[in-house]
């Protein structure tokens, strides 16, 4: 049993979701990053939650992927019992910015997804309340964190 918990997680995920994972790596102690197709994100997250106690969504980031016509979405999941932070990455096409929501399964993903929706315009399917969170009620300018949105300065 010389392998660390990070290696075990990587092995598990690779075994279970052989074809779905595009890339998986451990950068350093306590960090795992998984890149997967957008349709399998929920599946992998649920598997991690049930088997490895990744029960909290700590952060959700989204940005214009530097190369190509897609948005990258990164969820950070935290496992309390293993003390491992897992980055779950995916990319979705710019024409149809839709992704299955994690909120029905992770209550903590709620506001993170709302914010991502507001700032990047990504539709989370299955999310019950994607209302305004941070921007003014009468905001009509689009999605501030997209690269197409330019500041006036």
């Amino acid at each position: 049993m010389s392998s660390t918990i990070e290696d075990e997680i990587v092995r598990d995920v690779l075994q279970r979701h052989q074809g779905l994972v595009k890339r998986i790596e451990t950068k350093r102690r306590g960090r795992v990053s998984i890149e997967a197709e957008k349709d399998y994100i929920v599946e992998i997250a649920l598997y991690l939650r049930d088997k490895r106690d990744f029960s909290q969504v700590v952060s959700a980031t989204s940005f214009d992927a530097p190369d190509g016509d897609s948005y990258a979405v990164v969820y950070c999941l935290w496992s309390l019992s293993h003390r491992v932070l897992l980055a779950l990455k995916t990319s979705i096409p710019k024409e149809i910015p839709r992704l299955r929501s994690l909120t029905p399964f992770f209550e903590s993903a709620n506001w993170h997804e709302r914010e991502t929706h507001e700032m990047m315009g990504i539709q989370f399917e299955g999310h019950l309340d994607l209302g305004r969170l941070l921007l003014p009620e009468d905001w009509t300018e689009g999605f501030p964190l997209r690269k197409t949105f330019r500041l006036q300065g």
Partner: protein, 226 residues
């Protein structure tokens, strides 16, 4: 393309909430300025609750004045041609009892806490923070004001009784400061409210706050002479 839309938005805001602020700028208090700026201001969007009677909203439903039936927010006691000593007394009372309203808009609010704390104790000058805006005469705008807050700030200013004073504290309240190119920050609250004293700094030290209050007191003392 985006620049255009930004300009359009700014115009929209200017028309909806900042309608007459431009010429309010160089006017002083007690010059019979009607400060009812709230006409045409509506809250919209799903997250807005139905308006309630907590504080009347909008220009039409503004609380009526006791002394000025025509809606002017001036006071009879100032219109009465009273003797110089009495006027002096009134001014003295006003400048030595400035009650600031509790409204935190940005990151300068910890410094306001320091201002009332034992080391800087601003109650020495008669500045006593009060919870309700109905009793207050000084609006200290602490730091940046977002577009979302600007509407509420105007509402708060509206509901304070005359005579009232505004102090812009922090670089953001003066000019937008560090967030000068942000999409959601108002570049200087003088676009929204008539400001009496500017206190620059990011955040200003409490000493600067106190200087601002002293300057305001000087201003009140001079106001009547002009």
């Amino acid at each position: 393309m985006r620049r255009n839309s930004y300009r359009r938005r700014t115009h929209a805001i200017w028309h909806s909430i900042l309608s007459i602020c431009d010429f309010l700028h160089h006017l002083r208090r007690l010059h019979n300025v009607h400060t009812d700026l709230c006409n045409g201001f509506h809250l919209s969007g799903e997250s807005t609750p139905p308006s309630d009677n907590c504080f009347p909203r909008g220009g039409g439903r503004r609380g009526s004045m006791l002394v000025a039936i025509d809606g002017r927010s001036t006071m009879t006691i100032n219109r009465v041609k009273c003797m110089a000593p009495v006027r002096k007394l009134l001014d003295w009372g006003r400048l030595s009892s400035l009650w600031p309203v509790h409204i935190a808009t940005g990151c300068c609010s910890p410094e306001e806490m320091a201002l009332v704390s034992p080391r800087y104790d601003v109650e020495r000058f008669g500045v006593l923070p009060l919870p309700s805006l109905r009793q207050c005469d000084l609006l200290i705008v602490l730091g940046l004001v977002t577009h979302k807050m600007a509407k509420r700030l105007k509402l708060i200013y509206e509901q304070m009784p005359e005579p009232k004073y505004v102090m812009a504290v922090g670089a953001c309240a003066v000019s937008g400061g560090l967030f000068w190119d942000s999409y959601s920050v108002v570049k200087g609250i003088d676009k929204v409210l008539p400001v009496d004293v500017y206190v620059p700094g990011c955040p200003p030290r409490p000493e600067a706050f106190i200087q601002g209050i002293r300057l305001l007191q000087q201003k009140i003392r001079r106001e009547r002479k002009n």
